[in-house]
């Protein structure tokens, strides 16, 4: 069954090949074929455009006897042997085969352009399927749908295997995203609060008591997992149990041991004497002990924080003292999560919901567009629009509008609105308009032609925005040669440097293609 070849040309034969100068051409290894970047094909390759039917056809080679289909001719030939039919295996062609690249048949698709063709038949098939095909494969765990089976398989392998989970419930497949999130997530603080109240069920297997306090008057409190637990989302947090009612010396003992249990290389806090902590602890019995806990463990760095912090604004150092996320709180027996609110002005702890999208709070609706959209109309090519703009009335008053705005207008004649319906557009080329144009590159010639082309439209037509840029249907009037000239210069190869030197000459417009 022959392959439908709709169009075959070179990639660079047409205009506007995107620059290949920036391609990454480093060969991976000797002997490996050089791979072009996706969507940046070899300029000399032959472009093949297959029809959608051909692309989607899986078994193009059919056995005439039993009608079994095969993806490759070689496979069909081998099959034919079984029917005792004559078969022939083609040798791989010895001469240099011209490289083939494939375009997507869907007009408007990025890969429809030869300059963005894909180098591989399988690739274009997959692309076509993915982008323009029906998504028949669905992941069981999440709701993602796929058109290409191999995509679905690849996804299923990794779905749900994301390795990092923050306490707030968000999943991450990469450690660095996880760490960055973790640093700022309020769950860091929540965690510490939870640890001391109801985390027994969460961490029951991994609890290690550092310093059992026999004379504790409060029921035992569970600490957060020790620093050894590798999969803990809050690494290296260890809390020593502490008596709710603090005895002078005990908190001090507890503190140092908690410090020890955390750090690999113990550094005794130099400058936060236990007395401070004790004081605060005694003050806060049965209440949130975040401040004391904090000054406990952050001893060295907290003070460092004070010292190092010369702040331009009015943030007070007490921010640190009562900030969240202290890893070494020792809770009182009666502390409850709701009491865990630092005294200063930290933003309230908010638990993130488990799916990512919820992190982004739903916000504003779409802002009103200042340029009102076109009322439903068949899409016009840009060329057509340029023509239309050029042809719009000799009597547009856009010039006056802008004049009124103080923008100097070069138009001298007064303009009037004119509105005509259903402009019939000149046929496509837009080039051979045969418009005379005064040669000599001074601006005046161009301006003359521009005169009368405005796009302000009557009230009955469309909404006006400030420059009268409503999307209007159109009107008749003088053909605007200047804009057509613009069209001429722009509409072509794209290699034209319209800002180069040289002058605009009318003779080019007169020529027809």
């Amino acid at each position: 069954m022959p392959v439908d070849l709709d169009n075959s040309s070179t990639v660079s034969g047409d205009a506007s090949v995107s620059s290949t100068g920036n391609q990454n051409q480093t060969p991976k290894s000797v002997g490996k074929k050089k791979r072009n970047l996706p969507g940046m094909p070899d300029p000399d390759a032959e472009v093949i455009a297959l029809s959608p039917k051909t692309l989607m056809a899986t078994n193009r080679f059919v056995c005439e006897i039993c009608n079994k289909g095969f993806q490759r001719d070689q496979n069909l030939q081998l099959h034919r042997r079984g029917h005792n039919l004559p078969w022939k295996l083609r040798q791989r062609s010895s001469k240099e085969v011209r490289k083939k690249v494939y375009v997507c048949p869907v007009a408007g698709c990025v890969h429809h352009e030869p300059s963005r063709a894909l180098g591989d038949l399988t690739g274009i098939k997959k692309h076509f399927c993915r982008k323009h095909g029906e998504k028949k494969w669905k992941c069981e765990k999440c709701s993602k749908k796929y058109a290409v089976q191999s995509d679905w398989k690849a996804h299923s392998k990794i779905c749900g295997t994301k390795e990092y989970k923050c306490d707030c419930g968000t999943l991450f497949s990469r450690r660095d995203s996880f760490i960055t999130h973790r640093a700022f997530c309020d769950a860091l603080a929540e965690e510490s609060a939870k640890n001391h109240t109801q985390s027994k069920k969460l961490y029951s297997e991994t609890v290690t008591r550092k310093n059992p306090e026999p004379d504790q008057k409060s029921p035992p409190v569970v600490e957060s997992p020790p620093s050894l637990q590798p999969s803990s989302s809050l690494p290296s947090v260890a809390v020593a149990p502490a008596p709710a009612i603090s005895v002078e010396s005990e908190p001090a003992k507890v503190i140092s041991s908690s410090v020890l249990s955390i750090q690999n290389s113990p550094e005794s806090p130099e400058n936060n004497p236990p007395e401070v902590i004790i004081e605060e602890a005694s003050r806060t019995i049965g209440f949130n002990v975040s401040s004391s806990g904090l000054s406990n463990d952050h001893s060295s760095n907290n003070n460092g924080g004070y010292a190092g912090m010369f702040v331009s604004s009015t943030a007070s150092p007490s921010l640190y003292a009562s900030s969240t996320a202290s890893p070494s709180l020792y809770a009182s027996s009666t502390a409850s999560p709701s009491l865990y609110t630092p005294s200063s002005s930290i933003e309230p702890i908010s638990l993130c919901l488990s799916t990512n999208p919820s992190l982004f709070r739903p916000t504003i609706q779409d802002p009103p567009h200042f340029l009102t959209p076109l009322p439903p109309q068949p899409a016009m090519s840009a060329t057509a629009l340029l023509q239309k703009a050029a042809q719009m009335g000799s009597t547009g008053s856009g010039g006056s509008l802008l004049r009124g705005l103080g923008i100097v207008s070069t138009t001298s004649s007064s303009m009037e609105l004119s509105n005509h319906d259903a402009l019939s557009l000149a046929p496509a080329p837009g080039l051979g308009l045969g418009l005379p144009c005064s040669s000599g590159g001074s601006g005046s010639g161009l301006k003359e032609l521009m005169m009368g082309n405005s796009s302000v439209f009557g009230p009955k037509q469309t909404t006006l925005d400030f420059l009268g840029l409503g999307r209007a249907v159109g009107n008749g009037g003088n053909p605007g040669g200047g804009l057509s000239a613009l069209l001429t210069s722009i509409g072509g190869s794209g290699k034209i440097d319209v800002f180069g030197s040289g002058e605009f000459s009318g003779k080019d417009i007169g020529r027809s293609s």
Binding site: S173, L188, S312, L483
Partner: protein, 409 residues
């Protein structure tokens, strides 16, 4: 008087139905429009704007959305030429759409594409290598991303096995609410979160905010660093991530020695242990609007092109920020025009002139970057330039961001 000149065409192009999204066509229209606006050719500007408006709906494909952003910027420029107009104009300034992120949102946002993470990985790797053996590390983080690079750096420092982690001092400047992305908390709060995090990783950390602004080349920052006593065995690290582009250059101050040059000179005199410079490889400094627009268009199509995988809201935020940038480049002049990115080549000249020498990024880091890129869309790539020791992030082959490491020489 319009001086638009169009070169003779010796060959007429064959008629081709132009899709609405043809980027070259859009570009030409925009360039013509820019010329028209600046030369006060109202009628021509008007027409082109009308055509653009009709061929580039704001909800179209990426080229169309890119064009819309430029269109709005050109309109803004036109309006700014007639100030009396602005009160009567109803078009929406981009600033209203810019999202103010919470830090958690920003953390996710910066990882939507490799745009920033690329620089983070390269810079952190270089920093970690450079500060080996120092007992105090002082990082000055001049970054657009409000310290998003720091958590992974802290984590990496904490994971060094054989020795105790150094004391970490982090210094930032307070002037970062002038351009997007905007955050919804103060730097004090941000800093306290970082310190808390560092603590959980057993890193002692100090956080300092110095009021200083890009508009004077961060002179007060530099001064503070000069007088601030550094401890024994302290490494000074200056991490410049998409920030130095805001320091006025010669095209603004129009003198031979700009604030940018002065900044680098003073930076050098502080004898930092290492300086990392991550910037976007594009020249947006031209005084000529047309050239600038052309440069901007031929670079900023990239971020628009990368947003296919974004969710709708994220894409809107992201593109609002790019639109802000486009507006700044196209519609603003003088000191208001802050986006003055320069090419990698130009930055190299500057660094060399300031007596810095380039350092190669380690192979491990390169491998890490590659692994990271694997997890993003297939268009992302990377090149390692051996001749100048830089790493360059690419999108479909085009250079996007370069990452370089410098030491005093």
């Amino acid at each position: 008087m319009t001086k638009t000149r169009i070169r003779n065409l010796t060959r007429l192009p064959s008629p081709k139905p132009l899709r609405g999204g043809d980027a070259n066509f859009m570009e030409q229209l925009l360039l013509h429009c820019a010329t028209a606006i600046d030369s006060n050719d109202a009628a021509l500007a008007h027409q082109i704007l009308w055509v653009l408006n009709n061929t580039a709906p704001p909800d179209g494909d990426s080229t169309q959305r890119l064009t819309t952003a430029f269109l709005r910027a050109l309109l803004s420029r036109a309006v700014s030429k007639t100030p009396t107009l602005s009160s009567t104009i109803s078009f929406l300034p981009p600033a209203d759409e810019l999202h103010r992120f919470s830090v958690v949102e920003l953390a996710a946002f910066v990882d939507l594409t490799p745009w920033h993470r690329f620089g983070f990985i390269a810079a952190n790797a270089a920093i970690l290598t450079a500060v080996e053996g120092y007992s105090t590390v002082h990082i000055v983080d001049l970054s657009l991303t409000h310290c998003m690079q720091i958590p992974t750096l802290i984590d990496a420092m904490a994971s060094r096995l054989n020795k105790p982690p150094p004391l970490l001092k982090l210094t930032v400047v307070s002037s970062s609410d002038n351009f997007p992305p905007f955050i919804n908390i103060s730097y004090e709060e941000l800093g306290s979160k970082l310190v808390s995090f560092a603590t959980t990783r057993n890193i002692t950390m100090e956080f300092t905010i110095i009021p200083s602004t890009y508009s004077d080349g961060f002179s007060s920052l530099l001064q503070q660093l000069r007088v601030y006593p550094s401890s024994f065995n302290e490494a000074l690290v200056v991490n410049c991530h998409m920030m130095l582009r805001y320091i006025p250059d010669e095209t603004l101050t129009s003198s031979s020695s700009s604030l940018r040059t002065v900044f680098l000179k003073h930076l050098r005199s502080l004898n930092p242990r290492i300086v990392t410079l991550i910037e976007e490889d594009v020249d947006l400094t031209s005084g000529n609007l047309v050239n600038r627009l052309r440069s901007a268009f031929n670079y900023l199509w990239i971020p628009f092109d990368t947003t296919d995988t974004f969710m709708r809201e994220q894409r809107r935020w992201y593109e609002a920020e790019i639109s802000w940038k486009i507006e700044n480049v196209v519609a603003k002049e003088g000191a208001e025009r802050v986006e003055r990115s320069e090419t990698k080549r130009r930055w190299f000249e500057r660094m060399r002139e300031a007596e810095f020498g380039g350092v190669r990024v380690k192979e491990e880091a390169v491998a890490d970057v590659k692994a990271m890129l694997e997890e993003h869309a297939v268009g992302w790539g990377m090149k390692k330039e051996d001749d100048d020791n830089s790493l360059v992030l690419t999108w479909k082959g085009h250079s996007v961001v370069f990452a370089t490491v410098w030491i005093p020489i």
